[in-house]
Every structure is written in C-alpha cells, then in structure tokens.
Amino acid sequence: MSETKLDVTGLNCPLPILHARKFMQRISAGTVVEIRASDPASVKDFDAFCRKTNSDLLDHREEEGVFTFNIRKGS
C-alpha cells in the first residue's frame, strides 16, 4: 500500500476510522489520501472524521459496494 492509499474494505465500525486516524497521523499536512471502504456507515463516518480533523473531503464515490474517499489532510 502506498503512502497515500488506505484500503479498509471488509472492515466494519470502528476499524475504518481507527485505521484512517492512525494512517493520517503518519503523513504530512496537505497530502491527499485515497481511502477505500466497504462499510455503508463509512460515508457518514468519514464526513464527520474530516470535519473533526480539519481535513477536506474532496470527493467520494461508490462503485459496486466499495466507497472511495479522497481526503486532503488538514493542518
């Protein structure tokens, strides 16, 4: 997995957010990260995650049950 991609497909709450949080702690501000998840709750969870961490949810899409989020880490 690259520095800017995180795959949490197959994991359910709270693991997607937990892994995202740890992943984001390792990267620098301004980096755009692509996160893939399959938990239907992840849409609401990552929206809240971005607001709480001052990160920008640039876009998200769903394809065949997989949600992809592009998030720019805030400062």
Binding site: N12, P40, K52, T53
Partner: protein, 372 residues
C-alpha cells in the same frame, strides 16, 4: 370482529416495534458502540447525545406509564426478581468489551444482519449459543454461583412518587438538557430523530406487554426491548417451533432484522459482506461469545439494561450501564493501542484534569488526538 389472543397481539406489536427500531437504526446509524467510538476516535459527541436523549425519553415515558397505573414495573425482571451486582459489573464489562470486537452490540448486529452482513449472521448464531449456555446450559452453574455470591433483594418498585419524580427530573431532565444544549446535535436531524424514536420505543414495549398482555388470569411477562437473551431465545424458537411460544423478545428480534432490511432495501444499501480473514473471524467470534454470556450475566445488553433496565430505575441497572460503557471504552482503546495494559494507561491519561474543555467536550491530550 376478530378476537386475538394476548400472546398474538403482543407478538405482533413486538414485531412492529422491532421493525421501527431496526429501520430507524439503519437509517440514522443509531449505535451504542458507534456512539462511544465516535467520542474516542473523533471527539464527535452527536451519537452519544442521541443515545442519552433516548435514555431520557425512555425513562420519562416508562415512569409516566407506571405513575399512571398502566403498568406495574414491580412485575418486571429488573425490579421483581433478585438481582446480582456482580453479574451486572462483570457481565456488563464483558458485554461492552465484546461489542467492540464484534463491531456492535446485539441490536446493531441484528441491524447489520438485516443489511446483508454475513459476519453479523455468525455473531448472532454464536451470541445466541452463548446466551443459552449462560441461561440454561454449560455456563449456567457459573452464572448461578456468581449470582448467589452477589445477590441483592428485588427492589419491588421504582420507589415512592416523590423520589421517582426527582430521579426522572435529575437523570432524564439532565440528560435531555445535556443532549439538546449542543447546537451541532440539534442540527443533526438523524441523531435527533433516533434519540426521540428509539427512546419512545422502550415505553411502547412496556405498554405492549403490560397493557395488551394484561390478562387477569394469565398475565403476560412484563418486558420491553432487550436483545442478549432474546437472540438466544430466537434460535431456540427456530429449533423448537412446533412446540414453542413466541415471546416479546423473539418477535422484537425478528422485527428488528425485518425493519433494518426494509430500510436498507429502500436506500439501496443492501450488500453481502463477509470476513476478511482469520483474525477478523476470531475477533467476531470472541465478541459474540462475550456478548452472549455477558449479556445474560448482566441481565441485559446495551438496550436491555442500558435503556429498558434504567427506565425502571432499577439500582442494579444503574450499575450495569456504566460497566457496559467501561468495557466498551476499554475495548476501543485496546483496538487502538494494541494491548489491554496500554489501553488502561491511555484511558487513565485521557481522563486527566486537563482533558475537559469548558463546553463539556472531551479533548484528547496532545499526541493522543484524533486529528491526523
């Protein structure tokens, strides 16, 4: 006019109320474990406020029904039978820990199952198995031994009217005020809706079993929502259907799955999910075992004790809920820190004197924050 047996009326009502529970949970994301994890990992308190609002509504509604003479809470298992403080603490802690491993409590597991999550099917089966083992099987002697050692007499009633009024005002009023004072929560329609509706379902359940089942010759058991033992009961019901009686709990389990399924189908959110590998399977199996046995030991789960039990003002329920929360927090921190020892250290650190902000929100210490 069709004259229905009380058992049929109760079963139908429980199924319908369960369907509302399942649908609202699916649509709003109402989830006890989710509420705790939002606070721990994101400092987002909205779902916890929804949960507390649900408790406030459940408490006020239940005590209102009791005060009006519609139901006799002294007949419920929370007040009418001897309790075990040891069971509440140990079982509550086990349940709380288990729900973090299984991705949600019993109720959430049923909701997930309704959405197509096959992991939750495994959790339901194993949780039900361990619940029945704790109730009547291999684990029952251990449970009975602990109950004998830590028994407290049945309270008999929620207390005199003046005391009840004070407690409802303090606990219910306090929780409602704490929830509604936050603007972000008030603006979050799904969280507001879930708090109000889930909370109202608890007295609705009491009313269904207590009013519809009020046969003077053969009164139905007085109960409301609970999921730990009823999940076991549901498995037993499926296996012994030809000679079994449908209870409120079993009907509510079925309704919850059905309601969640309908809501997920409506929003095109149905999808089959399976385990990602052996570690994922083992985690869910452990969680299910802890929830099944712990839930029975504690005489209820997050909903059974946390909402329904506390709504009766049962002293042991007021002990079980914090134990469930403590187990949940420990479990969440263990997921984050990797070990129980590190989890305990992190919990002690984060509850230090500098952690609370003036608005009541808990801010993590620097270096342990949730921001990336």
């Amino acid at each position: 006019m069709i004259d229905l047996e009380p058992a049929t009326l109760i079963g139908a009502s429980a199924f319908a109320l369960g369907a509302v529970f399942g649908a609202i949970s699916q649509l709003t994301g109402f989830c006890t474990m989710g509420a705790l994890s939002d606070v721990v990992f994101m400092d987002d308190w909205r779902r916890l406020r929804a949960w507390m609002l649900a408790l406030a509504v459940a408490l006020a509604g239940t005590q209102g029904l009791y005060g009006a003479g519609w139901i006799d809470l002294g007949r419920s298992v929370y007040l009418g039978a001897p309790q075990s403080w040891g069971g509440a603490v140990l079982g509550g802690g086990m349940f709380g820990l288990g729900m973090t491993l299984a991705g949600g409590c019993g109720a959430k597991t049923l909701v997930r199952l309704g959405g197509g999550n096959l992991k939750s099917l495994v959790v339901v089966l194993v949780m039900g198995l361990f619940a029945m083992m704790a109730l009547k099987g291999l684990l029952a002697p251990l449970r009975l031994g602990l109950e004998r050692l830590t028994a407290v007499a049945a309270a008999g009633s929620p207390g005199p009217p003046a005391l009840r009024a004070v407690l409802v005002a303090l606990i219910g009023g306090g929780l409602a005020w704490w929830s509604l004072k936050d603007r972000a929560f008030r603006r979050s329609k799904p969280d507001l809706l879930s708090g109000l509706v889930i909370g109202a379902l608890i007295p609705a359940g009491w009313a269904a079993s207590g009013i519809l089942g009020n046969d003077p010759f053969d009164p139905a058991p007085l109960t409301s929502f609970s999921f730990a033992a009823p999940i076991g009961g549901a498995l037993s019901y499926l296996m012994t259907w030809t000679g079994a009686t449908l209870s409120f709990g079993v009907a509510a389990v079925a309704g919850t799955i059905a309601g969640a399924f309908a809501a997920a189908a409506l929003r095109h959110e149905l999808r089959l999910e399976g385990f990602t590998g052996i570690p994922d399977l083992l985690r869910h199996l452990a969680g299910a075992a802890l929830m099944g046995s712990g839930g029975v030991l504690a005489l209820g789960c997050t909903i059974g004790q946390g909402l329904t039990g506390v709504s009766t003002l049962s002293p042991v329920s007021l002990l079980a809920l914090p134990a469930i929360v403590a187990g949940g927090l420990l479990g969440l921190k263990r997921l984050e820190e990797g070990s129980f020892a590190a989890a305990l250290k992190a919990l002690v650190r984060s509850s230090g004197p500098s952690a609370a902000a003036p608005d009541g929100n808990h801010r993590p210490h620097q270096g342990n924050g949730c921001s990336g």
